[in-house]
């Protein structure tokens, strides 16, 4: 590979360039940052956000948006917790995923058949989902799960934490879906030009519902990991996660108008967000400043994107 092709690749994946830059920056400022154990910490922290962002990626590529991911995470977490106390882990996980799928199906159905803007629909389901969670738990956390369940959040396989394994598996799955399946092609087509997709014989409504279901299920997976890690399900889980997920997708090079984006970009977008959190904490930067730093990074990324 010569310099020119490397440069072209860099322009294609600005999130990777940004991530490398941020890593170098923190590594120069602190010797506690650039260690294997710290990277595993970052990856484990990022996994929950990244999984939501993977679901958000296909939604945004198809020209939509899903603001309800945080509420879906919380609702599936408390349902999971409730079933954990009475039933098997398998049933509980299945129920949590079912809740995620149902929330996604509701979003997709209203957006497709009601022909309402995704922003409005998912804003409403975000509020409804949060409310259902609070009603279901009466505002109280649910705790007391079997020891074996915590493996999902805290265990590791050959030294690699389970959340990271789940995240990388879902990354591979979404990479395959977006690049090698009918669903992937249709997502890009619907986001790029919905009318042309429809006139080409694509069952647009059906695929929209599937796309929002993926986002819902991925949020539920995050909810399961988070519950296992903290050993409790709290009705306040996932507040503001939709914004982090959207930020990761946009940092990854997707356009909010749809038709563009890729999952590798999203992974590095999420890594940028996670590394910033971690690095700024190591450098003892006041949390009061941290949001501003993230905001500035997002603006810079989007401005650079525009140049292309």
């Amino acid at each position: 590979m010569n310099w020119r092709t490397i440069l072209r690749k860099m322009r294609e994946y600005p999130a990777i360039v940004g991530f490398v830059g941020i890593v170098i920056f923190f590594a120069l400022l602190s010797d506690r940052f650039f260690t294997l154990s710290n990277f595993l910490i970052i990856l484990r922290q990022v996994s929950i956000q990244a999984i939501i962002a993977f679901g958000m990626t296909i939604v945004i590529i198809s020209g939509g948006i899903d603001l309800s991911v945080g509420s879906t995470l919380a609702l599936s977490a408390v349902i999971l917790a409730d079933f954990l106390k009475s039933g098997s882990i398998f049933t509980a996980v299945f129920m949590a995923l079912l809740v995620g799928a149902a929330m996604g199906a509701a979003n997709g159905l209203i957006i497709a058949k009601g022909k309402i803007q995704p922003f409005i629909v998912t804003l409403a389901t975000m509020a409804i989902g949060r409310s259902l969670t609070l009603v279901y738990t009466q505002g109280m956390p649910i705790t007391g799960f079997p020891q074996s369940f915590r493996f999902i959040g805290r265990g590791d396989v050959a030294g690699i934490p389970v959340p990271i394994i789940i995240m990388l598996s879902l990354f591979a799955l979404m990479w395959f879906v977006l690049n090698n399946t009918k669903l992937g092609l249709y997502s890009y087509a619907i986001g790029g030009n919905e009318i042309a997709a429809k006139l080409s014989g694509v069952k647009v409504d059906r695929y929209k519902i599937i796309i929002y279901m993926i986002s819902g299920v991925f949020s539920a997976v995050s909810g399961i990991i988070l519950t296992a890690r903290l050993n409790s399900a709290q009705p306040t889980f996932g507040y503001g996660y939709e914004l982090d997920a959207i930020a990761a997708v946009v940092l990854g090079g997707a356009s909010l108008t749809g038709g563009k984006g890729h999952i590798l970009g999203t992974l590095f977008g999420a890594l940028i967000m996670g590394t910033l959190n971690n690095g700024l904490n190591i450098l003892n930067v006041s949390p009061f400043y941290q949001q501003a730093v993230k905001g500035i990074i997002i603006l810079i990324a989007v401005l650079l994107e525009r140049e292309n």
Binding site: L183, L185, Y186, Y188, A189, G192, A196, K198, L199
Partner: protein, 495 residues
Amino acid sequence: MEYILEAKGITKTFPGVVALDNVNFNLKKGEVHALLGENGAGKSTLIKIISGVYKADKGTILYMGKTVSFNSPTEAMKAGIATIHQELNLFEDLTVAENIAVGNVESFLLSKRKLINITDKLLKNLNFNIHANSTVRNLNTSEKQLVSIAKALFLNSNVIIMDEPTATITEHEAKILFNIINDLKKKGISIIFISHRLEEVFEIADRVTVLRDGKFVGTTDVGHTSEQELISMMVGRKISEMYPKYNVPKKKEIFSVHDLNVGRIVKNVSFSLKEGEIFGIAGLVGSGKSEIALGIYGYIPSKWKQLKVGDKVISKIKSPDQALQEGIAMVPEDRKTMGLVLELDVMKNITLQNVKEVEKGGIINWKKADDIAREEIGKYSIKVSSVKQKVKTLSGGNQQKAVLAKVLRRVPKVVFMVEPTRGIDVGAKVDVYKIVNNLANNGIGVVFISSELPEIVRLCDRVLVMHRGRPMGILEGNEITQENILKLATGVDVE
């Protein structure tokens, strides 16, 4: 001073392309000068240099005897050179008067009443039948064009450049526009007229300059040339047949519809066609001719008493997907907004409508899709650098061929083609006509829906003419003439 505007030896290069190579162009006072050329010939680049959008690398522009070099379109406009773009650039939610004022009135405060009075006077002087107080959104395309012209004249322009003004209006509206152009001529205003339609050049222009591949081919008096000569100047080869027409034997009936109603527009339309027949549908904008296709194709709600494809009676088509399964295909009216996903490459656009051929269990075999795309690119001679080229970077003609490739890959029983030659160059048009003939030759029923009468007249075996959503009659054989179609299309009966 013989010429009001003279461009000498204009050269302009963009990275990798010579857009204009030593081009000469001159304009007399009070003349209509047509600028002809295929897509990519350099017409727009020349216009953009004259109007201050680009700067020439080499060459000079003389305007009213002085060398000029405008830094922006606004500067050119203030000097008296106005450009009316194809996309019109109007503010839809402002009034006519406000649109004319934007960029033209420099005072900070302005009285609405005064503005409307001035504009009304201007419109009256021009004999334009528009009110200064109407909102632009409520005007039709040709009225909007008049607003653009009025805006140009507000500043007492000497030169008006019209970029394909007739591309989006009907023949009837074009007639009105031509009357206005003739009035402007009498006032001593010079007009540069860009068009794809040769017959218009003969109707309205005094002289014509032809460009090809960025080079100057020649300038000639319209009275001293012919359509054939201009075509060969434009394409650099003889096109002996502009409108190829094969003699295809008509066989059994392949499609019929009775009492079709589409939305609130199309009422009680019935027609049928045979295998190998090219059936035309003509009408003005708003006549419902494209809605007939969209309705039958399942894109907008429609009802019918009976619809048959071959021997199969179909009671309802709910979606384009179902229409395709029944053997009904459609080439949509606007390739950019309806035909293609511009951000995707040629291969993916072709695959989009033909996924079934390359997928198994939802997984796409891209190797196979690549082969199919190459096959189609070869079949329709689409000019691409690779199958991975984004369709948004293709020329209009090649985009249209990509649409034809994706729609016709799975051979339909009947295909609706809506405005299949709109905005493409002469060479590509002839290619499209050949494709239409080939379809008929292969026993496919072709419904050819177009606003361009010459192609309807020369290509179609029978023609249904629509007027305000209602069928006015079906012309056959010798009855198919531009005059007869226009009479029906404007609501006059043919005796």
